[in-house]
């Protein structure tokens, strides 16, 4: 049965000519993929001579299961969300990572102390802290724009269409925070049926005026088109649009939901050793600080923090745009991976049927 599956899928699968030493990295594309290309891939090739290639995906976690089961793993490194990494690791779809391979920070701190808490797991190493927050078009609100998460759900005071990611994750937490639940209690409330109902009731307020996006590059596009007045987004994409392209977008950090983004190796990857080498390289102090030069995602190592300076244009200070900047952490929520590993399926099904009705 399994052989037949491999044979038949291989026939209709990708044709990939694997060369001797090469690392294929699958990431999220857009401005984020570009920043990784500059900060990780190109320096890695320059230093080791191993060829690197970047492949884009809306969510690299989704092809991993298909590839591993079909025994046709075409990528060597995937960049995935923390909760997905835990889940995939539990299901045996990722190679285990030897944490002793990680070097100490540039300031001498041992690796396990240098990384933020929870950043290194059995199968993955975190590179950045990214955040889902919302941004608005300042030209649509000449008399002052929204300031809090509650404003996002306030259609009377701040009219205009909304953009939200199509899925339950982060939306339900934001709905509760918009309803006044403090960040520390969000997951306790969300664990109850009444809490979930309350979150959906809040989302009902904006349901008819919401455009649902799936790719990270869509929110800046929707804002630029004028299709929406405010939209949730990955903060780095908004930064890229606002600073690199000069769009009049303003970020609202109240009620942000931040999470680690990690690098992992799918089980059965063809260039496993080179892939591990790449991960060790990419999570070095200087590399993590470098990627912050291109996009506003916080490095997962403490020793990288002081090295984060200016954006690549040489003028803009990166610090205020980081999710982990003190000013932005006022009402911030760390995404709970255990909660989502458990309830992802159920809440997404509820979300899908809520969308439909």
């Amino acid at each position: 049965m399994k052989k037949l599956l491999i044979l038949s899928t291989a026939l209709s699968g990708f044709a990939f000519a694997a060369s001797a030493q090469e690392v294929v990295v699958m990431s999220w594309g857009g401005a984020y993929g570009k920043s990784q290309n500059e900060a990780y891939l190109k320096p890695f090739t320059a230093e080791t001579g191993i060829k690197t290639t970047m492949v884009d995906s809306d969510n690299p976690a989704t092809p991993v299961k298909a590839m591993v089961e079909a025994n046709n793993v075409t990528v060597d490194v995937v960049d995935i969300e923390y909760a997905d990494a835990i889940r995939l690791c539990d299901e045996g779809l990722l190679e285990t990572f030897d944490a002793t391979m990680l070097p100490a920070g540039d300031d001498g701190t041992p690796a396990m102390d240098d990384f933020l808490p929870g950043a290194v797991t059995d199968c993955s190493v975190a590179t950045i802290v990214f955040s889902t927050m919302y941004a608005y078009d300042t030209t649509k609100f000449p008399n002052g724009g929204p300031k809090t998460m509650a404003d996002f759900f306030n259609m009377e005071a701040f009219p205009g269409k909304r953009g939200m990611r199509k899925g339950a994750k982060a939306n339900l937490e934001m709905a509760l925070m918009g309803d006044g639940v403090p960040a520390a209690e969000v997951y306790t409330v969300l664990a109850t049926d009444e809490g979930v109902d309350r979150a959906f009731a809040m989302l009902d307020k904006i349901k008819t005026d919401t455009v649902w996006w799936e790719a990270g590059a869509q929110p800046p596009q929707l804002l630029a088109d004028g299709e929406v007045a405010m939209s949730t987004a990955y903060n780095g994409r908004i930064f890229a649009a606002a600073v690199a392209e000069g769009k009049p977008f303003e970020s609202v950090w109240d009620g942000q939901v931040y999470e680690y983004d990690v690098l992992a190796v799918p089980k059965g990857a063809k260039n496993k050793d080179a892939a591990m080498q790449f991960i060790v390289f990419a999570t070095g102090t200087q590399r993590l600080a470098d990627q912050a030069k291109y996009i506003a995602y916080g490095p997962a190592r403490k020793s990288s923090g002081p090295l984060v300076g200016l954006y690549e244009d040489g003028k803009t200070e990166m610090a205020p745009y980081m999710p982990t900047d003190a000013a932005n952490l006022n009402n911030a929520l760390a995404s709970d991976f255990e909660f989502w590993a458990d309830r992802d399926t159920q809440l997404n099904e509820r979300f899908n049927s809520w969308l439909l009705n």
């Binding site: 989704t62 092809p63 298909a66 299901e91 299709e227 399926t345 049927s353 439909l356």
Partner: protein, 420 residues
């Protein structure tokens, strides 16, 4: 063939070498059939290997799922021996033993996921219990219940019992919006999670609407193509075929540019003062957007079969009808239209089947209420990774399309379907 020897002894016609004509004919036609079969064989093998076998395997996932049964062997044995009996110490011992093994093989997540499909929120029960199961000692029942009292739930044991057999109809139940209730029997899922039946209905209704629109728009164009002189008809034909030269994604995104609330059409309407600036038409991210974009994309599939049938209709009949005193409408209704029925059938079934399975266009312009069942299948394939449910939904879609095809065969007849 040699001429038949008529003056044979019995009244049977024979060929020159003596075999009866009937037998010789049978041998010859069988040889011709075998030759034809071998000519088609490479194509048949290709289709079987690249199409039928992978799809068949995918669909077989809809009624088999061994994530639980392959990993929880001891528990499976207990269920075989004890059926629906209340779980006793031996059951919990088997459970603990299996969880310990699962923890070593890193399959606890898979086991939990399988049960999570039936009873949401139970995945962590398995993953956390697996970590502790290795150190557990007898009595196991107390140990497990001390870990988490949820282990005593009857619906949990019912789910585990049904999951311990690889073959299951649970995914079809889920595809029909039914789930395991608290007592262990199947019941309708709560209102707020019922989606699939509604989606199926919506898919078929929208596909019928799209096919109807394609027919309405495509019929006049096909007729024009059929009756114009060749020079003009060729130019028009190139225009009909032009969309095939552009990527599907490009066509869909250009509709997005046109239909957006700040898009070309709305800007035009506001400029002409037909609608106010805050009364812009919502033509995107809803069913309207899906219907418009898909009609555009499927139109050539309706026009071409209609055109090829209309080309073969001799104009003499219509002229004869007019000369006998029929009005234009009667001529059309009673003479022309019946002759085009086979083309309508071909174009209609082509458009309908394509529309029912369409995924990209509803995903891009459909928003929340313009999405079809194929988007839900894609969601289960890619995001929730519940391939068995995706396979069940796909199997039901395939079955309904086959039933419609059979109905079409009874009403119009496949042999009457002409593509040219």
């Amino acid at each position: 063939m040699a001429s038949p020897d008529i003056s044979a002894e019995n009244d049977v016609l024979r060929t020159v070498d003596g075999t009866p004509l009937k037998t010789a004919l049978a041998i010859a036609s069988r040889r011709a059939r075998i030759r034809a079969f071998f000519l088609v064989l490479p194509l048949l093998i290709f289709i079987l290997l690249t199409f039928a076998v992978p799809i068949g395997q995918m669909l077989s996932r809809s009624f088999t799922d061994d994530k639980f049964s392959a990993n929880m062997v001891e528990l499976g044995k207990w269920f075989d021996a004890n059926g629906k009996a209340v779980p006793d110490e031996a059951a919990y011992a088997a459970l603990a033993a299996d969880l310990a093994t699962a923890s070593k093989d890193r399959s606890a997540g898979n086991v939990g996921t399988r049960i999570n499909y039936e009873l949401p929120g139970t995945r962590s029960l398995f993953t956390s219990a697996a970590r502790k199961a290795e150190k557990m000692e007898a009595p196991f029942k107390e140990g497990m219940l001390a870990l988490d009292p949820q282990w005593a739930r009857p619906d949990l044991w019912a789910a585990m019992r049904s999951a311990s057999a690889a073959a299951t109809m649970n995914f079809y139940q889920a595809a029909l919006d039914r789930q395991i209730g608290a007592d262990g029997n199947f019941e309708a899922a709560p209102e707020n999670t019922q989606i699939y039946v509604k989606l199926f209905i919506r898919t078929f209704v929208m596909s019928i609407v799209i096919t109807g629109l394609c027919l309405l728009l495509g019929f006049p164009i096909a007729h024009l193509l059929a009756v114009l002189p060749l020079r003009h008809a060729s130019l028009l034909m190139i225009l009909v075929l032009l969309p095939f030269w552009t990527s599907l994604l490009v066509r869909t995104t250009s509709w997005m540019v046109l239909l957006q609330s700040q898009g070309v059409i709305n800007d035009l309407l506001v400029w002409m003062n037909i609608v106010g600036d805050d009364g812009r038409l919502q033509m995107m991210y809803n069913q309207t957007g899906t219907i418009i974009a898909m009609t555009h994309i499927l139109l050539p599939f309706m026009i071409l079969p209609l055109y090829s049938v209309m080309k073969t209709i001799p104009p003499a009949y219509a002229r004869a009808a007019r000369s006998l005193g029929a009005t234009s409408w009667t001529t059309f209704r009673r003479i022309y239209l019946p002759q085009t029925v086979s083309g309508i059938g071909a174009g209609g079934i082509l458009c309908f089947i394509l529309a029912v399975g369409y995924y990209i266009t509803p995903a891009l312009v459909g928003g929340a209420d313009g999405t079809l069942i194929s988007n839900q299948i894609a969601f289960h394939m890619q995001k929730s990774l519940n391939w068995s449910l995706a396979a069940a939904l796909a199997a039901m879609l395939l079955a309904s399309v086959l039933i419609l095809y059979w109905a079409y065969d009874r009403i119009i007849g496949i042999d009457n379907m002409k593509l040219g």
